[in-house]
Symmetry: D2
Subunit: 284 residues, 4 copies
């Protein structure tokens, strides 16, 4: 039985990268299943994602990594090698709206999302029973202005204890401190309930209603120190009309939010998202 891996690379663009990497893999008897690439003409950065299989009698992962390190050094590559069969460890943070949580729980349980939920963290107790039903540890970590530092320390402890690869803010309605955010670059995914950069900040559906837009949207992005400014992973919209009051917008928005967030998380755990400055390359 062959093992499957995903190799992601970012490096300065120049002639021969694909040739070198694909030849390296061919020599190691690795078979490319899927490959996608992008050369950014602005930044002259090159991005590559290769999904490949290594045969049973291949070199094995440690030896492959050792050998590839030499190639990578030549091209000044940032690279990661992921076991394609391994599930990402995903911690979910949520406040009182459970639609994204429910959606992620279901997708993980059916395997359409290759992830294992390590913990559910909330500043409210509402979803304790749901976590229990799914056999997932629940951490009730309430927060006030005065306890933000302590609460975030407790959150960080859960991330560490559970060895979580990624944190998903599934409608977590607290603003995380810049300090906290900067500790996990490219590892925290948030769903913002508007089509960014429209309607940043609080109550985007009320803002959308006031402006009279004809489509509402949702945006999944990596969290950075600058609120609602992180690299966008995925966006989607849904049609509304004059008869949609803010409450109706909220209801329509739930479906879009769930869809967008689940897509973004899937892209992330399948190692399809590469950071390109404050933008993303997404190999869908």
């Amino acid at each position: 039985m062959p093992s499957a891996y995903i190799l992601t690379i970012a490096c300065p663009d120049r002639i021969g990268i694909v040739a070198t990497v694909s030849t390296f893999l061919a020599v190691q008897q690795c078979n490319i299943i899927d490959s996608a690439q992008f050369g950014d003409p602005d930044t002259r950065r090159f991005f590559l994602r290769i999904h490949f299989e290594m045969p049973d009698d291949g070199p094995g992962r440690p030896e492959l990594e050792r050998l590839f390190a030499g190639v990578a050094a030549t091209f000044d590559m940032q690279w990661e090698l992921h076991d394609a069969g391994r599930k990402s460890r995903l911690m979910i943070m949520v406040s009182r709206f459970g639609h994204c949580l429910n959606d992620l729980l279901f997708r993980c349980s059916t395997g359409t999302l290759q992830a294992e939920i390590t913990a559910i963290v909330s500043n409210h107790a509402d979803f304790e029973r749901i976590a229990e039903m799914h056999g997932i540890p629940f951490h009730h970590l309430p927060v006030t202005k005065d306890t933000k530092r302590e609460q975030e320390a407790a959150v960080a402890q859960v991330i560490e204890d559970t060895r979580s690869d990624v944190v998903v803010l599934a409608r977590y309605m607290q603003v995380l401190s810049a300090e906290f955010c900067s500790r996990y670059p490219g590892r925290i995914i948030n769903i913002h309930h508007s089509f960014l950069p429209s309607f940043k900040g609080a109550s985007p559906y009320h803002q959308a209603y006031a402006r009279g837009v004809k489509l509402i949207g949702a945006t999944a992005h990596y969290v950075t120190e600058n609120l609602d400014e992180g690299p966008i992973i995925e966006q989607e919209v849904s049609r509304v009309d004059h008869a949609h009051l803010p409450d109706a917008l909220v209801n329509v928005g739930r479906d879009v939010e769930s869809l967008v967030l689940s897509r973004a998380v899937r892209y992330h755990v399948e190692h399809r998202v590469l950071l390109n400055g404050h933008r993303t390359v997404v190999f869908r």
Copy 2:
């Protein structure tokens, strides 16, 4: 052969409006083909659009209007009665991008857009021959900072001379003065090449590229004194990805712009758009 009319009404909401209007029409032997309504719970305004037929031996339009004026007064109605068979007189303003112009010309020629193009006005001469091919008067009215006032006066003269009902800014790249805009409330439709309120102002596709959005959009709106702030009539988006450089965004955007503008113009000339403060009610 019956004649068809479209009656639009806006008035304070209260019990009995539909009953009164529909009874009035039934008494006059008019048959309702289509009717749509909306009561805004915020503003307590009520909006109604009725498409109806009057038989040959009906009262005729002047008498109908005379009779209805009494009803309207009782309910403090703003109302308009339109001959459903009459084509709106539409003046197009354009600069150097012709995709929206071409689209509108074609839709008018095939009758899918119930409008007659009265004139094409441009600050460039590029489309003179196209206008000529379609037998439409072309007015080349170049403009500089210093001649803006005179140029706008000339534009206003064309509107008047051609008795145009509505002006469509089909990628007209000059900012009209507040004075000009305020002369034609609800009668100038602009296409902005972004999903407003994102990316107001100049070069929205470059702004979209810089932000790394995953969908680009277009917005058709009525022009008011406040640039890019007018009531939105229609919006649409199209998916893009990291490989779309600004030029590619511009190309993808053309199709969305043409589509959105043609829909907005169709809604307008079919009297489906009612102003509700700085928002619109659109009875699609």
Copy 3:
């Protein structure tokens, strides 16, 4: 506090229907919140849905019905009056794919779907625990060719015992007998996992793969004696490409199926769907 009702009407088209109904309601001090209508020029049938409020000191529902019966008789109306605040009683049938079930359970629990799930019926035992977690009675009714008649009798008994208004086939993979279907006209909603009329019958995703389509879809329809031929309530599609093998199509399809089915059920329980021969009128 006023009570809200939804009145749906289907009758031969003629002048004065809206006038009569709206005047009737105004006289009873009822305030129209929303109204939609459609006159089918082919069949000359007229369809009307009115959402209205009756004040506390109004005539009350029994008296309103008694009075309206006279109006209805005059116009040969089929009509129904529904309490807008009452939740429809919904029985779900499911086999082994749980995405639509999970979606409906969540929407009912949050109130975005105004329905109460009376029972979950399945020919498999897979979802017994999920039903239990939600406190909903679960009926495991396995079926073979030889026991179809008895099994359907048992299903009918559950419908009766639970006084269910509507049955939702949320990926129930057994073909119901014509006899069973004909007992519940307009009361059984099925989700078919293709864009009907394409790919009727079994394994639509495999059929879609074989044909090389670029979009896959789902269709929610009322169940009639003719398999996959019932009146369509809602459809939606999702983009796929050559790299989607049948298993990937199944995964993409899940989201479309859940969305389409939940929309169709919502339209139904909000009394927005009227039958027009083998088609539907849907007042969205």
Copy 4:
């Protein structure tokens, strides 16, 4: 100034194809701009499209082709090398609906479609003047049952005389003979005004109306001897409802048809479409 080329390859799948091709290009000092690949696990066929630049002091096209022929033979490749800057020569056939024709003319004129229209062929004279306005030769080739063979011979003559690479049936309402179709495999693109395989044959919009579908669609496909069965290149849909009579469906459909056909033609002239049996691989 480097020259850009597009290399397309189809061959049996095995280890080392990408390595070999990319190394070959690197050795020739060619820089890969874009590359996409697909290995079909069903047929074990491998598909590759590489967009690359050759420097001024590179080997030149003839030498590159000579050298690559050796590589290709080793892997049993079907391959084509296209000059990325060359415009495809496109002949349009049309009957009486001009929306797709107008759309293609405009896109070619603005350069968003990299194609040169060599001739417009029609069985009607309606668009003679439009062809003239664009300076494109127009061939009025009427056809009856009895003259089909002669007319198709005349059409073939135009294709030959104009050295057209591809023929676009832009709502050409005559069925071409199997004999004619088989002469141009993968070179005739048709727009069918339904979401195939739904509503094959005549009057798809009337069929769609009769079935009461909630979305209508259009399908662009290569023409084969089997009517409406050719490999699908692109599809799209648009939402409709019960109020859309067949004429309204036709109007809504025009926009979808134009969009789908223009996308398919663009994919084709950019050499993004590879045939995979009776399906297509489309590297968008």
